[in-house]
Every structure is written in C-alpha cells, then in structure tokens.
C-alpha cells in the first residue's frame, strides 16, 4: 500500500499564518474596545464624583458663610452683654456707695433726733416743775398778802419770786416750741432720707436678682421691708425668688400673701391669688402624701 505523504504544502502555511494574525488582531481590538469602555465608565464616575464634591463644596462654602454671620452676631451679642454687665457692675458699685452714704447720714440724723427728743423731754420736765413752782408762788403771794402777820418786805419778795417764775415759765415755753419745731424739721428730713434709702436698697436688690445673686438680693429686699413693711413690689419680687429659684414654698406663699395685702386691687393681684391657691393645694397634697 502506497504511503500517503503527510508533509503540508506552502499554501497551507501561509493560510495558517494569516488566520493566526487575524485572530490576534481581533483579540487586540476586542481588548482595546473593552479598555475604552472601562475608561469611559471610570471617567463618567469621576465626573459624577467631581460634581458631588463641587456641590458639597458649595454647600460647605454657604455653611461657612452662615457660620461666619452667626459668629459675628454672637460676638456682637457678647459685646453687648459685656457692656451691660460692666454697666450693671458699675451701677451696683455706685448704688452700694450711695446706700452706705445714706445710711451714715441716716444714723447721724437719728442721733440728732434722739438728742432733740432728750432735750424735749428735759424741757417738758422743766416746764412742768416750773409751772408747779409758779402756781405755788402765786398762792404763796396771795396767802402772804392776805396775812397781816407777814411783813411788806416778805410779801414783796414772794411776789417778785412769783413774777420771776412766770417769766421763766414763758422762756421755757419758747425753748420748748423751738425744740419742737426743730424736731419736726429733722423728722421730715429723716422720713425723706429713709424713703430714699429704701429705694436704693430696692434698686440694688433688682440688680443682684438679675445677676442671680439671690442671697444678697434677699438681704436688700429685707432692708426695704424694714423701712417700708408694706412695699408690694419687694414682697412680690421676694416671693418670685423663693418660688422660682429657691423652691421655698412656705416663704414664697408668705410674701405672695403680703403682696396681696399691700396691693389687693391690681390686675397682678388676681394672678397672684391663683398662684396662692395652687401653691396651697400643692402644699396640702404633698402633706397628705
């Protein structure tokens, strides 16, 4: 049997080579297309990301602007508050000084009045004694004149003593009237001074309340009440301090009641009456529990 030749022809070689080359091109093209697609997608993603970042940046910029405005506003408020505080502190210092001065003047005034009252009492005692002596001498003069046993010299002497006593009584009466007038003037001055001092204590108490220095504010309100026991505003403010800040219902109630007593016909009084009722109810309820 003839042996079949297995050796490929030249044409076969060329065909195979061409086929291989074509396949390689096709593969490369496919790869490139795939790469291009991928690059396009990445670019799109990146664009979207850039867009998001741009938007975020814009939002941030706006926020920053808004924050700057807020910071400026807050800074302005802080400055105003600092100025207010500085004013309040200076008012407080000034008021304290005025109160000390007024109290010192008041003390001097009280001493002067006490002295005048002493003088008045002394003058009254002197007048009383002098009047009695004068009456005695008058009777003694009459009795001496009616008694024939008494010498003219004695009668004249008694009568003279009586006249001197009457003149002295008049002089003492004048002194008494002068002292009374002086005392009345001093009392009027003291009354005005006391009223002014009470107002200063009240103003100081208001400033201390604003600073939330409640113990000091209470002391100042109490000083107002020492001078003006029926000062409605002081009772009201004290009641609010005890009620809202110190949670002392008993004291708050006491001052609310004093306020109603001092100022029963104001619109505020009706509101306070309601608070009192509520507080009394709360207190009773708490007690029962």
């Amino acid at each position: 049997m003839p042996e079949i030749s297995k050796k490929p022809s030249k044409l076969t070689y060329v065909g195979v080579a061409a086929a291989v080359a074509l396949t390689a091109f096709a593969l490369q093209d496919l790869r490139l297309r795939s790469n291009l697609k991928s690059t396009t997608r990445i670019t799109q993603d990146l664009r979207q990301e850039v867009e998001v970042l741009r938007k975020e940046n814009d939002t941030f910029k706006m926020g920053e602007l808004s924050d700057k405005t807020s910071i400026n506003k807050l800074s302005e408020q802080l400055n105003t508050l600092a100025q207010d505080k500085s004013l309040t502190v200076s008012s407080q210092t000034e008021l304290k000084k005025k109160v000390i001065d007024a109290e010192s003047t008041l003390q001097a005034q009280n001493a002067k009045i006490a002295q005048l009252e002493g003088k008045l009492k002394e003058a009254e005692t002197k007048i009383s004694r002098q009047k009695k002596a004068s009456t005695n001498l008058e009777q003694q003069t009459k009795s001496a004149k009616a008694n024939p046993g008494m010498t003219t010299e004695y009668v004249k002497l008694v009568e003279n003593e009586w006249l001197v006593a009457v003149a002295k009584t008049d002089e003492l009466n004048k002194d008494l009237r002068r002292t009374l007038s002086e005392l009345s003037g001093q009392n009027q001055e003291r009354s005005k001074l006391r009223s002014d001092t009470a107002t200063m204590h009240y103003n100081l108490a208001v400033i201390l309340t604003e600073q939330q220095n409640f113990p000091a504010a209470i002391v100042e309100y109490q000083k107002v009440l020492e001078i003006r026991p029926d000062d409605a505003d002081s009772h009201y403010n004290l009641a609010v301090i005890y009620d809202d800040y110190l949670n002392d219902n008993e004291k708050a109630l006491g001052h609310y009641r004093q306020y109603i007593k001092a100022s029963p016909d104001t619109p505020e009084a009706n509101r306070v009456r309601e608070w009192i009722k509520q507080k009394e109810y709360d207190t009773t309820f708490k007690f029962k529990i």
Binding site: K132, A133, N136, Q140, G149, M150, Y154, L157, V164
Partner: protein, 123 residues
C-alpha cells in the same frame, strides 16, 4: 444763845430764797441753802445743821433716799428732818402726814405752819 442752824435742800431757788429770808427774819436761825440734791450729803457734813428741811422730789436726787442715808449714819441719825413736797395737801400736813417717819409739809408753804413744825422738831 447760839442760833440754830437750818439747812434747806430744794432744787427750786425761789423756795430756798423765800425760806431763808423768812426764817432769818426770826433772828433765831442761821439758814443755809443747797439747790443741788446730789450735794446734799456733802453740805450736811460740812454745815452740820440742827435741822434739815428737805424737798422730796428733786431732779437729780430723791429726798426720801437722802433721809434714809442720814438716818443710818451714826453721826447724823438724830438729825431732825422736815419734808417739803407738792404731793401733800394742807389738810394732810395738818393731820400730821409723815414720810419715812418725818413730818411732811405741802407746797405752797404755809410759813406759820412751818415755823411751828421747826420749833416742834428742834425740841
């Protein structure tokens, strides 16, 4: 005969002046006066009177207290005292009104009654 010494202690100068005048007119008494009640005891010691005429109500001193001190003092416990007071009426004085055991005469002073009492107290 030596004159009897009378010391009058009263804050009212008109009273001491009148009594001194009236009693010295009798020419049997030497009259001394003191208008400051706080100096009563000093005056009694320095004058050493035979009789004391003493006002009960003085501004700085109380006549009854002065009399008590005099009575408790050994050197003066026998000193006779006549009280003068505005709180005793003529009727009460007439009835022999006494303060701390001593006779008391009212004001205005009845000179005749006073002279009688002085003589009685000095006996």
């Amino acid at each position: 005969m030596a004159k009897k010494k009378i010391l009058i202690i009263d804050d009212e100068q008109s009273v001491t002046r009148l009594l001194k005048f009236a009693l010295e007119k009798t020419e049997i008494y030497d009259v001394f006066t003191e208008n400051d009640g706080t100096k009563a005891l000093v005056s009694i010691r320095s004058i050493n009177p035979d009789l004391l005429i003493l006002d009960v109500n003085m501004p700085e001193a109380n006549g009854a207290e002065i009399a008590a001190i005099v009575k408790n003092n050994t050197s003066s416990h026998n000193l006779p005292i006549i009280f003068l007071t505005g709180n005793v009426s003529a009727e009460e004085a007439e009835a022999g009104k006494k303060i701390s055991g001593y006779p008391a005469l009212g004001k205005p002073i009845n000179m005749e009654r006073l002279l009688q009492q002085i003589q009685k107290s000095l006996c």
